[in-house]
């Protein structure tokens, strides 16, 4: 389980996370929603130790991440896969080499085993025939699918997704959504997704948390979250409908 307590993070002159407290349940998909620039991605980076909070505690399977030594953090990261916003594929490598990279670098398997696993994960994301392509030859959606395959290759306990559908066309978004859902259902991976995509949230979320003003202001199970009275529903649905109505009447 990932557990965050009172996490505070500030860039010089700007506080991003004020007091974030949340539990990410095992084998479920938790989606953190909130408007752009609210600090969702920063929170993911704090969880993975890429950013160090000024206060608070983040534990992964009971191990403290905040203030952990570099070797300890490297060990913790082996349990985590992360999908970055743009995929962050290594553009000097082919799709195959990108996916194989963690296994090859850490010498975790024989060449034959690496080949088997890479092709299996490329099959899983439906990109087997693109194994020899370079990232420049792929669309945005394909890049993210390759990034998911790369994140999955070490078979992590936790998968973190940073805006997995941002900037994608609706059909590519749908493909990525289905893949996230399938991975979660088939492999029971604990997933944490940060997004402001309502459709994605509706489709994949088991739990939904709302981030506002540097805090988790609401956190509920999916059904509860989308019930009319909830803060999340209000934030996500009503605000959107109200703004649309206002803009429509002005138009």
């Amino acid at each position: 389980m990932i557990r965050a307590r009172g996490v505070r993070f500030a860039f010089p002159g700007r506080t991003v996370l004020e007091d974030v407290t949340i539990d990410i349940e095992e084998s479920l998909t938790t989606v953190i929603v909130g408007r752009s620039g609210i600090g969702k991605s920063v929170f993911l980076k704090c969880i993975t130790g890429l950013l160090r909070p000024q206060a608070g505690s983040i534990t992964i399977d009971g191990e403290e991440v905040v203030g952990a030594s570099k070797p300890r953090i490297l060990a913790i990261r082996r349990r985590i896969g992360m999908l970055f916003q743009e995929g962050a594929l290594f553009d000097s490598m082919t799709v195959y080499e990108n996916v194989a990279f963690p296994l090859v670098y850490h010498k975790l398997a024989s060449a034959r085993e690496i080949d088997r696993r890479v092709m299996a994960y490329l099959d899983l994301v439906g990109l087997r025939e693109y194994a020899r392509a370079t990232p420049q030859e792929l669309s945005g959606g394909m890049k993210r699918k390759v990034a998911v395959a790369r994140a999955m290759i070490l078979e992590p306990r936790y998968l973190l997704y940073d805006e997995p559908t941002a900037g994608l066309d609706p059909s590519s978004s749908a493909v990525v959504e289905s893949m996230i859902r399938r991975l979660q259902r088939e492999r029971a991976i604990t997933s944490l997704v940060v997004t402001h995509d309502i459709d994605l949230t509706k489709y994949i979320a088991d739990h939904i948390a709302l981030m506002e003003d540097g805090r988790i202001s609401a956190h509920a199970a999916r059904e509860e979250a989308f019930a009319e009275a909830s803060a999340i529903y209000e934030h996500f649905i009503e605000n959107r409908e109200r703004i649309r109505a206002e803009n429509g009447s002005q138009g």
Binding site: F11, P12, R52, R77, M82, Q85, E86, A88
Partner: protein, 288 residues
Amino acid sequence: MFAGLHLPRSGAFILDTAGASSLLSGASMSRPSSEAAREWRHAGASTASMYANFFFWLFREPFPTRQLGQQFVRVILDGFGILAVAGIVEGAMFAWLAGWYGTKFSVINWSGAASLYLLLSAATTLIGAMMFAAKLGTAFTVEIGSMQMSGQLDALRLMAVEPTQYIVIPRVLASILSFPLLKAISDVCAIAAAILLSRLWFDISVPVFLQHAQLVLKHTILTTSYIRCALHAFFISVNACGLGFYFEGGAIELGRTTTKSVVINLICVLIIDTVYGVMDSVFGWSTL
């Protein structure tokens, strides 16, 4: 340039984004100043942090042997053309100057010795280092900077791979190993050009040219010039990698950072050459 920069105590300089952003952001700089001054402080802090990071990770497992090999071949291939051309131009230029003054002062037979001494002891090293900074240094800054911009360095960290080990150390070591080799290629081109020009322009025969050159050239001159090359390569590559590694911003900032990489490295080359030259004359390394 480094005023206000407080590097943390040992261990804390193993900078990932966490440490770097707070260290380099300017928050630790006590004095408010213009954006340009802030950028220069950031550049200074970036290179200083990279020196610490480099030595911290250099002796830790796993050693990036494969990447070192790849980078060595790449640096040789990238640097070969420009250093060969620079060698030819330098050789012709110095031979012509030496020949012209040799004719004027009636010591034309010594012009070969003079030109080769200047070329091998100073010129090919200094100009070669400048070419190296312009060609390879900028390439390192842009490559690593764009990796930082696109999240590739963070992706490496997430895969429990330390980017300093995987990206920086191979480039720095490959530079240290390959630049003396490139200087040797540049030397050969310079000598060939000097001999050719002396023969064609001043009618100095090749045996006379080489005979006088042998009298003044000592192996210590060559040895110290190659040591100087390795020193240049180390500072140039660490500076360039550091500027890319701790890069913040977008395309415009990357352009400015690349310009800084050239400027910082050219100044660095001149300083190293001056300091080395002074120490050489004090301790007499070249005349041992």
